[in-house]
């Protein structure tokens, strides 16, 4: 895994040697050209990083059949957490809101990829709702494991999933792009990873059946839908099955949280990306005994927290993802 991460600096095509992610591979991972050198070291340097995802337009329509598309992903606000890794998660979530409100191109809406709360308490959810109100944006949520403690997600669905199916999954369309919110934090099996389950997989297959292959698809869920590091549970058991339903699409973007650090991988038509937390960082895979909250010097905390700004760049027919730290 570490090798793969380092290899990403080289930019070009690398032969993958990390494994266990259960995804049908084509032999090579095509890495994107990176804007900004040494950009991978977001964890250390708080460097702004960006990359562009090609939006292949199979209809050949050069003017593009997509409108402008701009949204922000935030993740892992862990409201209620008060340990040394960040004694003030309210302040850092507010800093994320300030960051969003200061973006030159205002996003249309926000995706929150879970762990809204730390302990699934009503007052924690209330607090986040109150702070995020200052963005004046529509917000779409998927649950993290911290949001479904003790009640299998009933309270989460009551608050954020009124129009969702099953355990809280749903889809919607924005400016020609199809968005799919998945739930992979419930009904987990001993020894396993995140899981979608057969009911959700069937729904997903059906949900995308009517879409043209040229429709850009953006999937968002809490736990990564590619295997980042199985020892720490950073992956989803049946994600390969889900991705198999999306193979025919020209452009698929998968946005996740959970691991409290940015990481990305491009494989064929699918680009995977994880966002930073707004609360506390976690160690890079395998660099610590466990994946728990990582304490960094107080003056460096905001450089390892952040938001992800996603913009469809009309001229280039590309989707640009920009991770910016809260520093």
């Amino acid at each position: 895994m570490a090798k793969n991460l380092l290899d990403r600096h080289s930019g070009g095509v690398i032969e993958h040697d990390h494994n266990n992610d259960g995804i049908d591979r084509r032999g090579f991972l095509k890495c994107m050209a990176w804007a900004g050198t040494g950009a991978f070291c977001l964890m250390q340097g708080g460097v702004l990083r960006s990359f562009a995802l090609p939006f292949r337009n199979h209809s050949g329509d050069k003017s593009g059949n997509l409108g402008e598309l701009s949204f922000v992903q935030i993740s892992d606000s862990h409201m209620g957490f008060n340990k040394p890794a960040n004694p003030d998660v309210v302040a850092t979530l507010k800093a994320a809101v300030d960051k969003i409100n200061a973006l030159p191109q205002q996003p249309e809406f926000i995706l929150h990829t879970g762990d809204i709360s730390h302990l699934s308490k009503p007052e924690e959810f209330d607090n986040v709702d109150q702070i995020l109100k200052a963005t004046n944006k529509e917000i779409f949520f998927v649950p993290g494991e911290h949001d479904v403690l003790n009640d299998n997600g009933a309270m989460f669905r009551e608050r954020y999933g009124k129009n969702s199916k099953g355990d809280g999954w749903y889809s919607f369309d924005k400016n020609g792009t199809h968005f799919i919110g998945l739930v992979n934090v419930l009904n987990l099996k001993a020894g396993g990873l995140g899981a979608l389950g057969s009911e959700q997989l069937e729904w997903l297959e059906d949900d995308v059946r009517h879409l043209k292959s040229s429709t850009p698809v953006i999937v968002f869920a809490h736990i990564p839908l590619w295997t980042v590091y199985p020892r720490w549970g950073w992956g989803t058991e049946d994600s390969a099955q889900a991705l198999s339903y999306l193979k025919r699409f020209g452009s698929v973007t998968v946005l996740n949280g959970h691991i409290h650090q940015t990481m990305q991988k491009v494989e064929g038509n699918v680009t995977f990306h994880t966002a930073c937390s707004t609360a506390f960082p976690q160690p890079a895979p395998g660099t610590a005994d466990g994946p728990g909250p990582m304490k960094v010097p107080a003056d460096q905390l905001r450089s390892v927290l952040g938001i992800t700004d996603v913009n469809y760049v009309q001229k280039r027919h590309a989707l640009a993802l920009v991770d910016s730290s809260l520093a």
Binding site: K83, H118, S120, L149, N150, V185, A190, G191, L193, W232
Partner: protein
Amino acid sequence: MNRRFLVRLLPAILPLALVAILTLYSPRAASQEAKPSSTEVKVDNFAFAPQTLTVSANSTVTWVNKDDVPHVIASDQGVFKSKALDTDDKYSYTFTKPGTYTYFCSIHPKMTGTIIVH
């Protein structure tokens, strides 16, 4: 007076004395005392310690969460399940029947452990 009093007390004292003697000298009681009496499982750094714990029947096992994040103790077979344990929270379960009980953290399922009850 004194003697009559003692005689009347004998039926009450004798069984108590017998129990005391048996408890002190029976090999079974002695071996139970010699066993490690620790029935605590620490939940630390996303792992259970000890990962496998052996106890005698009717022992109460207590899990203590030493992590900065919550964990949930859940039997694989659905025998027991805790609420979410925040830092320093404890959960106890008394094992009455001998057997092997595997369990995991239902929100971090890579965390697994075993309680063997003799």
